[in-house]
Symmetry: C2
Subunit: 239 residues, 2 copies
């Protein structure tokens, strides 16, 4: 029960090179808002923070372009991708387009292994939900990881690597926004109940109900973010 050991992320692949290490840490810092949207990412400053050479850090930034968390402009350096309500709406709807299709495929094709995996993922997520609420950032981090694992497990039986790839990118993007909605909770939600209903519908192989619950579930976060004050999206242009 005591998980006091260093909370080394389980599913995070051990970095084999310095570039990968810097990439992983940078990605985490961007998603968590250490580097806010729109911020200029100066190589000369960041190379000290992440303890690598300039060329190495440039490569890490280039890798983050793949995730669309960083944008690069020739001869003008790197920048954290800006955010906006319009962007989050786009992310959400595109993600739903892909994720509901993948879920349909999973429900149709998923076998016993897939079922077992989502049972396990749901259990882990439920446990994390219980530990939540104490304003414990470590627990929130763990919950975020297991929430992602649950959603990815649901669509794991889809044969489409491309859908899963794009879904992964979009989910990562939406994490930046979900962080914002944690500050204020404009819409009261019983997230556990939503997950429970989704889980039940999936085990019952009820495609219509499952996709509909998933859609509602994801759109609810969109609504929550929409109610945030516009200041949250004031991505500074400078520095």
């Amino acid at each position: 029960m005591n998980e006091a050991v260093p909370p080394r992320t389980p599913e995070a692949v051990e970095p084999k090179t310095l570039v990968e290490g810097a990439y992983q840490r940078l990605r985490r810092d961007i998603i968590e808002g250490v580097h806010p949207p729109g911020e200029k990412l100066r190589v000369e400053h960041l190379k000290d923070r992440y303890e690598v050479g300039a060329g190495t850090l440039r490569e890490a930034l280039l890798l983050l372009v793949t995730d669309a968390l960083v944008v690069a402009q020739g001869q003008r350096g790197f920048r954290v991708s800006p955010i906006s309500i319009e962007d989050f709406e786009d992310i959400t709807r595109t993600r739903l387009l892909l994720e509901t299709e993948a879920l349909r495929q999973s429900l149709q094709l998923g076998g016993e292994d897939w079922e077992a995996a989502i049972v396990a993922a749901f259990h882990r997520l439920s446990r994390a939900e219980q530990k939540l609420g104490d304003n414990d950032s470590l627990a929130a981090e763990e919950w975020e990881r297991r929430n992602r694992a649950f959603h990815e497990a649901l669509i794991a039986a889809s044969p489409s690597r491309w859908i899963r790839h794009f879904q992964h990118i979009l989910y990562q993007q939406s994490e930046r926004y979900r962080r914002l909605s944690l500050f204020s909770h404009p819409i009261p939600r019983d997230i556990h109940a939503e997950h429970q209903a989704l889980f039940n519908a999936c085990l019952a192989r009820d495609t219509t109900r499952a996709t509909s619950i998933l859609t509602e579930h994801v759109l609810r976060t969109l609504d929550a973010v929409k109610l945030l004050p516009a200041e949250f999206f004031a991505g500074k242009r400078k520095s």
Copy 2:
């Protein structure tokens, strides 16, 4: 009429850095099969061919990871992404999922500018089709460019940047496969007629017909590639 001038691609952005230049040339070479699928991309060899330093070439390769044309394995270098029939089927179906949705949005939201743009794009494509068939690789190149422009113009009125972004990646991927189907034409196609029908349906704002024609149009290429001998997909593991 005489286009003997160096066929500098019009819409290709002039590279501002050496990295971008190497990236563009590498991308072209990979799509055109100069570097076949699965090939190991050794920095020390390629830096001579593309006349840049080793670090610069590494950055160009990292950029190609964004397009999923190159895969990087830590401490084991870079490789051209492999191809397979399963992958192309996945690409095609995912692309249709996104592109039909974007087309629906375009048909609903597109204004006069959008209409004018697809009229122009269709005209340019038709002209390129006329010049085709002489086994002229230059004309084929031009046709490929205008075909892409036509398809992108159709969905240009979609407000979803993410769909357009993913569609761009998938289209790029499918170019590698389309090249294969050019060698042998197992299925006789009147591509111009298909484009014409698609164009007509779009101008008539007939969503159902337009998406259905587009689907048929794209699936036909999938069928053509499926009939190719399996040797085309024998992506060598070595070298």
